[in-house]
């Protein structure tokens, strides 16, 4: 029967392709920077800029030092020679434009881009540029530097959710209908894993399935509220943020000594659980120590930029590594909040984005003025400075502390700390919104607090977009802007620009509430659709950019551990505290220069969530790194999802996973195979599936279940 069904659906898909390919190929081509229908006006941001940025700007762009032939193509004035340089374009006259001649010529010595650059324009790209010149060669400001525009969600009959209106209007335009809502079992698993990182228990599944049968909307709403209110929500989303903060529990480099900074990790968990507005969240992490009468907690928050490595090797020049850590802070701030590759301007003007090397060091200057102490934590929420004389500190944590006397900052020639150039003072890139300060502060020098406030200014065109895009990425496996860490000229255009802008404005309107945005996203039909592949869309939208369905996603490394702990009934729900040492295979810690001790925890600390596992940068926990947990060397804004034999060996043979299986075996003996299957996959097995499992002894059945692709996936 099944084979018939598949054959049939393929036949249908062939017919659909036959009907639609001609008129609907355009959307996806445009997304990849290629030309669309020739009758349509060329759109600079959508069609032209990606071609110029990729192929031309390296030698004819913003970086004056690298500019060839005194020609710049990143501005209209430059392209027509009004800037005093050479002209390459005569607007409206492609046949008189050197640019057109040079991209079309057969002469390999003259052709652009040059042969030895390894770059090459496709025929379609050549024609796009020609038509653009013909149509007047209009330039537009790069979309991400224009503030988000208010768009009314387009009307779609019978649809009220704003996200669905944007998505479905687009789908309708392509002649595609959205997928059905996923079934209740899939939905509760998906939204539980997405919001709390823990799969639902059979009892929770039963309750939801029953409630949803009566009133699907109300049951789902209630479920989402329960999950958002769970303390495990903060743990899951802290993981998301800690990747970006490049958090780990050791100093890195070759010595890689342990460090104490887990109070910062707990601060992040708590901030998500309290739904701290993202602007406050930002200010406290970048400049909590500079807030008026900063509290202990606000100082702990500055641990964000203490997650840099510290080199304790003998014979080093300390200043070199201090400067390296500031480089990392500038790059991380740029990537995490602005979605810009500011770090590229460390050695030279940015090749693609309008950020000069001087502007880079102006940003550097904001982050160059702190001492880097370890602070005693007393766990009280008053003034950090007050009455700690007789109290015993709970722990210590790494923080930033602004120096009374600012360091001088110089441009470093080629990024070399031994080659200081001109002195610079703090400042922000001219291409973005101006930095405005309250009147009472205008006399003082700019500091990190000004930088933080500038980043979360509602006039900033980037931050809200960047963050909502990254939230979206978590819920759909890909952002509306696919290249989530580069909103600059070499990045990718949004698949749904109006929706992205609408979400960014809504984020600010809702007081920068992350929970509000997640409530909004997961309550959409778009999110709740089934992830089943639709072969009939293979030609039209094979990568699912248009979101006519959800997507199966392998769980993150720590969540695989957590889900296995839940399935086997071992999970300790304990929140926060020092990192723990669950058992790891012997010999793992012997690889670095210094053999670090790993004294396995006892009691419930063996069964804590993956978030709490002690993380050495040089020798990360193997069961986590094998599933792509980031290494904490630099910011990670999107995890890879690899799929390797070493993962199979881990799930089959790692002593910890064998222990999970032994616990699940007991559950099989006590409650039966079906319950165990549901604990792993959140659904009821088919008879076929049960038949495979019943052939096995209970331990083998337990190991099988914990190794299923479905057990480590949310569908």
């Amino acid at each position: 029967m099944r084979s018939v069904r598949i054959r049939w659906s393929l036949a249908v898909s062939l017919m659909v392709i036959g009907c639609c390919a001609g008129s609907h190929g355009m959307v996806l081509q445009a997304a990849s920077g290629e030309a669309g229908d020739f009758r349509e006006a060329v759109d600079f941001n959508r069609d032209v800029r990606p071609i110029l940025a990729e192929n031309c700007y390296a030698c004819h762009g913003f970086d004056e030092a690298a500019r060839e032939a005194d020609l710049r193509l990143d501005t209209f004035a430059g392209a027509i020679g009004r800037d005093g340089g050479n002209a390459a374009i005569v607007p409206g006259k492609p046949d008189e434009s050197e640019l057109v001649a040079r991209i079309l010529t057969d002469d390999a010595d003259l052709r652009m881009p040059p042969v030895d650059s390894g770059k090459r324009l496709t025929d379609a790209q050549q024609q796009t540029l020609r038509r653009w010149v013909e149509q007047g060669a209009a330039y537009e400001t790069h979309w991400a530097f224009v503030p988000p525009q208010a768009h009314e969600p387009p009307p779609v009959e019978g649809i009220s959710h704003p996200i669905d209106r944007f998505i479905q209007a687009r789908l309708a335009g392509e002649g595609i209908t959205p997928s059905q809502r996923a079934n209740s079992e899939t939905l509760i698993r998906r939204v539980s894993l997405d919001l709390t990182g823990l799969p639902p228990t059979p009892a929770q599944i039963d309750a939801f399935v029953t409630a949803a049968a009566a009133d699907p909307e109300a049951a789902y709403r209630e479920l989402v509220e329960r999950l958002l209110a769970s303390p495990h929500y903060g743990e899951r989303w802290a993981l998301w943020w800690l990747d970006q903060a490049r958090y780990a529990d050791s100093n890195g480099y070759s010595i890689d000594a342990p460090r104490q900074i887990w109070a910062y990790r707990d601060w992040v968990v708590d901030a998500f659980n309290q739904d701290m507005p993202f602007d406050t969240f930002t200010i406290e992490q970048l400049a909590g120590d500079l807030l008026p009468s900063a509290t202990e907690r606000q100082r702990i928050a500055t641990g964000f930029h203490r997650n840099t490595q510290i080199n304790q090797e003998g014979g080093i020049d300390r200043e070199q590594f201090r400067v390296d850590s500031v480089f990392d802070r500038v790059a991380t701030t740029g990537t995490v909040w602005l979605g810009l590759t500011i770090g590229c301007a460390q050695c030279h003007d940015h090749k693609f984005d309008p950020i000069s090397q001087v502007e880079y060091y102006q940003m550097f200057a904001f982050l160059n003025n702190q001492d880097e102490p370890s602070m005693k934590v007393y766990g009280r929420d008053g003034d950090a400075g007050e009455a700690e004389g007789d109290a015993e500190p709970l722990t210590t944590t790494l923080v930033l502390k602004e120096r009374a006397q600012p360091r001088k900052t110089h441009v470093l020639i080629k990024g070399d700390f031994t080659r200081p150039g001109a002195e610079v003072t703090p400042g922000t890139p001219a291409v973005l919104h101006p930095l405005e300060r309250p009147a009472e502060r205008t006399d003082e020098p700019l500091d990190r607090l000004d930088l933080a406030r500038w980043i979360v200014s509602p006039r900033n065109p980037l931050t809200a977009r960047v963050i909502v895009n990254r939230l979206w990425q978590q819920h759909f496996g890909r952002g509306l802007v696919e290249i989530e860490n580069d909103f600059g000229l070499q990045g990718s255009s949004p698949s749904h620009p109006e929706l992205l802008d609408w979400l960014a404005l809504e984020f600010v309107r809702q007081g920068w509430s992350i929970k509000a945005m997640q409530r909004l996203i997961v309550s959409s039909h778009t999110y709740q659709q089934t992830s089943r592949l639709r072969p009939e869309l293979d030609e039209q939208d094979p990568e699912n950019y248009l979101l006519a369905r959800q997507r199966r996603l392998r769980l993150d490394a720590e969540i695989i551990r957590d889900a296995s702990l839940v399935a086997s009934g071992l999970l300790s729900p304990k929140l926060g505290g020092p990192p723990v040492y669950p058992p790891i295979p012997e010999g793992v810690m012997g690889q670095g220069q210094v053999k670090r001790a790993w004294k396995a925890s006892v009691g419930e600390d063996r069964y804590r969530r993956g978030l709490y596992t002690f993380k050495f940068r040089a020798t990360p926990p193997p069961a986590l790194s094998v599933f792509d947990a980031p290494d904490g060397f630099s910011t990670c804004t999107r995890r890879l999802r690899s799929n390797t034999p070493l993962q199979a060996l881990t799930l089959m043979n790692d002593p910890a996973h064998v222990q999970f299986a032994t616990a699940l075996e007991k559950i099989i003996v006590r409650d039966g195979l079906e319950t165990a299957f549901r604990r792993c996959t959140s659904r009821t097995p088919t008879e076929d599936e049960l038949a495979v499992l019943t052939q096995l002894d209970p331990l083998s059945a337990a190991r099988t279940l914990l190794n299923l692709d479905e057990t480590i996936t949310r569908e």
Partner: protein
């Protein structure tokens, strides 16, 4: 119909047949693997280690990098500098060191020349100088390209090791082995494509990051072959599990994953099915690799292996040959500790001769063994560390030398490198190149070139930059090293 759809259709058909016929594991996995590899692009997503076509026809297929961790002294091994010995104890002329920075600048670093106490002789067809510390290597100089003017950027161990391995001094960039397997896949379908073997008293500074994959998928990171216990982490079936149970679990996982694949059509599941099959094959192929019982007494003697079950650099050299025979793409050996600053535990009089003895015979044996088995033409063997040592001595209680980055010696064998060739010339003290300096990035470009990879095109975009092994500044293939 697109290739992808055709592929999926065939895949579904195949998985159904596979499921119903319950064919043996090997055949099934091969069929699945071949189905996944319908085109280059699809191959990398579905079967990342599938062999890939290089940019141009390669001269070599495999690499064995013998990494002498800590920085071996070129002045006690390959660099014959009588002038240095003659002027032992004199201050180095200031023209050499002005404006230079060194490790340990404020404490033990000093500027008096230190002559060697080793004796040098000429070997081979070209009369190549080699010291008495490396008699076996001396006998194979006609197979080697010796580069005396290697140059690196960084003088602390960990950053310099990163630089030699990843082309960057920063933590966490993709290593050469990761780049090569990313670019070429691997010919071996029952072992990882990039394996790392270690010997010596401790792990190399920098640890697992040295063979990391950085911004490339973790599939391409080096897998350490361990000296004790399982050769690969979690390779063995746990003691509490019977072999028949393991087999039953692997079969059941496959059956249930196949059902889910048919139900959902998600090709990630077929990749996972493949991964489990490879994992299961590794469970037998890795122990078989480590079992050297089939090696002749003559071969063991050639490498100087007394007890084949005892872990040593020599045994790792033998394993490297066995890995090349199995088609593993990139093999890296680390041997510590070459950091001879002087002092009671790391001086030039006692400890350098010891470590040279540990590596000399087996290194030469590896090259000769590869050659007599016809494997040397396809395999690049690289010998060297992260930097060299200064011509000046250090102020410690026993003789030693500081880290030196301006000129140090590495050698290459096989893989289309010129046999019996010495390249580059240094000044009378061996401080810097007076002709033909070879930067680490140039070495990387040259190695990639021999493998059929263009270092400019082997790149991946991350944080707005095109990352490549050879970095931002232009790197050059050193054609003069090549046959």
């Amino acid at each position: 119909m697109s290739d992808k759809m055709q592929n999926r259709d065939r895949l579904r058909e195949e998985t159904r047949r596979h499921f119903f016929s319950r064919c043996s594991m090997g055949v099934g996995s091969m069929a699945l693997a071949s189905l996944m590899a319908d085109s280059a692009g699809a191959a990398s997503a579905a079967e990342p280690m599938q062999p890939k076509t290089p940019h141009f026809p390669p001269k070599a297929k495999n690499v064995i990098f013998l990494f002498m961790a800590g920085g071996p002294s070129q002045l006690e091994t390959f660099e014959y500098k009588p002038e240095l010995t003659k002027r032992n104890g004199e201050p180095i002329p200031s023209s050499f060191v002005e404006g230079k920075r060194f490790a340990f600048m404020d404490s033990s670093h000093r500027s008096d020349l230190l002559g060697t106490t080793r004796s040098f002789r000429r070997y081979g067809k070209n009369g190549t100088w080699v010291s008495d510390l490396l008699p076996h290597t001396a006998n194979i100089v006609d197979e080697l390209t010796i580069v005396k003017t290697c140059k690196t950027d960084l003088f602390n161990h960990a950053p310099a090791k990163f630089f030699m391995n990843t082309g960057s001094g920063l933590f966490g960039r993709p290593s050469m082995g990761a780049w090569v397997t990313y670019g070429l896949g691997s010919e071996c379908d029952d072992l990882p494509g990039f394996l790392v073997l270690q010997s010596g008293p401790r792990g190399p500074r920098g640890g697992a990051v040295l063979w990391g994959s950085g911004v490339l998928p973790t599939t391409y990171q080096g897998v350490p072959l361990r000296n004790q216990g399982d050769p690969i982490l979690n390779l063995s079936t746990p003691e509490s599990i019977e072999p028949a149970q393991q087999r039953a679990v692997v079969d059941a996982v496959r059956e249930l994953n196949l059902k889910r694949l048919v139900e959902t059509g998600d090709e990630e599941i077929s990749t996972r099915i493949n991964a489990y099959e490879l994992a299961y094959r590794m469970q037998s192929s890795a122990p078989e690799l480590m079992d050297t019982a089939g090696e002749s007494a003559e071969t063991l003697a050639l490498y100087g292996i007394k007890d084949p079950n005892e872990s040593s650099y020599a045994r790792n050299c033998l394993l490297a040959r066995r890995l090349v025979e199995r088609g593993v793409r990139f093999i890296q050996l680390y041997h510590t500790n070459w950091d001879h600053h002087g002092g009671p535990t790391e001086n030039l009089q006692k400890h350098l001769p010891e470590i040279c003895k540990e590596i000399d015979q087996a290194t030469a044996a590896l090259v000769m063994d590869l050659k007599r088995r016809g494997l040397l033409d396809d395999t690049i063997v690289i010998w060297g560390g992260e930097f060299g040592r200064t011509p000046m001595g250090e102020v410690r209680e026993n003789t030693g030398r500081n880290h030196h980055i301006d000129a140090f010696t590495m050698w290459f064998a096989g893989g289309g490198f010129k046999a019996g060739h010495v390249y580059g010339e240094t000044d009378e003290f061996g401080f810097g190149a007076i002709e033909n300096p070879v930067h680490v990035h140039d070495l990387h470009a040259t190695i990639l070139h021999q493998l059929g990879l263009d270092h400019n095109r082997l790149s991946v975009r991350f944080q707005g930059l095109d990352f490549r092994l050879t970095g931002v500044d232009p790197a050059h293939v050193v054609k003069d090293l090549l046959a």
